[in-house]
Subunit: 204 residues, 2 copies
DNA sequence: GAAGCTCTGTACCATGAGATACAGAACACC
DNA sequence: GGTGTTCTGTATCTCATGGTACAGAGCTTC
């Protein structure tokens, strides 16, 4: 898997390559990631690419892993507070804000990658399965905690609720990306919020 | 946009090309659609491709339009009955069945295409905007009808409900496709169903 | 059955893009 | 400051792939 850089300069270069490639994918799809384009965008020569990555596929895979780590790291502080309705709402708000921010491009980086590369090789697909699992796990844990502490009705299926939430996020982001407006995402998350409130023991 | 075939043989050939290309996209992504691959899969020579399509891009665009029409045509009979809870539930069941059927590949053909080509040119993106609008319109109309006839509470936002539903479908299909199991899709639609029931005037 | 279409088969071209070779610069370490 | 390692620049090769040329088969129509 190429050389892992040891010097600061090396890490910076590898990072620039990864960022440039990720940006190209996000904006114009995987097909737009030609080595020439990456070089231009990253301000880097051909030899650097092959110094840090085995080949193009290795680069793409690395982008996937980097993106997954980055997105999940960004989510982490919010996902830790998901054990309460207020925490979940903060999480939703952040997602909507995030989807709105990136000038109308939006879309979930992981979801976007997933639908482009999910049908690729088994290894890449597995990476996305793991990514979504890591993403959903804190939510399930939080909901379960709420259920055990009596906030949530005992008869609701927490995995079902979590799956709905994840689907609403992904679907909302996809549709918002196509329509270039965050409305759909907001609506979808409002719906998920309603479903959550509906499962509370004490209706608000 | 190439020659539109006039003979039966011509239509069959053009159809085979379109089917083969659609299949390749669905299974291995747009990048896998090389002209050689299409020829092999469709049992067709290079000259046929350029007889019926201007170039590769035209072929891809044609696949998009054909897929949209096909999916929407398949949905149509169910979408006409969406003016009642029972009709909506039949629609959901069909979607789940459809997502389950295609041997674990699944995924929404339109959604999959959309996330691969949505960031492409403006024209293609618009095609998807239209597709989703055409898809969602009957649902909104049905919900509005239910609201006017008193089945649905007057204070609920029908577009919000419809957006949640569409997002649940798309997100559920995406996640089900990645995980190769229809559970997530089923869960997501159960959630959407719950949200719908919650909006009814007479709780079931 | 001949003309004039639509449709098909094969060979070929041009070039974009992935990959390689190799030398030289920058840096770390003693 | 010398030496080995990491990192970078440039030129080049190779080949897959989109695109073209052109002849020939197969209908349809008169």
């Amino acid at each position: 898997m190429g050389h892992t850089p040891t010097t600061a300069r090396g890490r910076a270069t590898r990072g620039r390559i990864l960022d440039a490639a990720a940006d190209l994918i996000q904006r114009h799809g995987v097909a737009a990631v030609t080595l020439d384009a990456v070089e231009r965008a990253a301000g880097v020569g051909r030899s650097q690419l092959y110094h840090y990555f085995d080949d193009r596929d290795d680069l793409i895979r690395s982008v996937v892993h980097a993106t997954v780590d980055k997105v999940l790291a960004a989510q982490e502080p919010l996902l830790l507070e998901v054990g309460s309705l207020a925490g979940i709402e903060r999480w939703f708000d952040a997602i909507v804000a995030n989807g709105t921010r990136q000038d109308a491009v939006g879309g979930c980086a992981i979801g976007s990658l997933a639908s482009q590369l999910g049908g690729q090789d088994e290894l890449t697909r597995q990476a996305f399965v793991d990514a979504f699992a890591r993403w959903e796990a804190p939510l399930i844990a939080g909901l379960r905690w709420m259920q055990e502490s009596g906030e949530l009705r005992p008869d609701v299926d927490v995995t079902e609720l979590a799956d709905l939430t994840m689907a609403a996020i992904q679907g909302g982001l996809l549709l918002a990306q196509i329509r270039r407006t965050p409305d759909q995402l907001r609506h979808a998350l409002n719906g998920a919020r309603a479903a959550l409130k509906d499962a509370l023991t004490s209706p608000p």
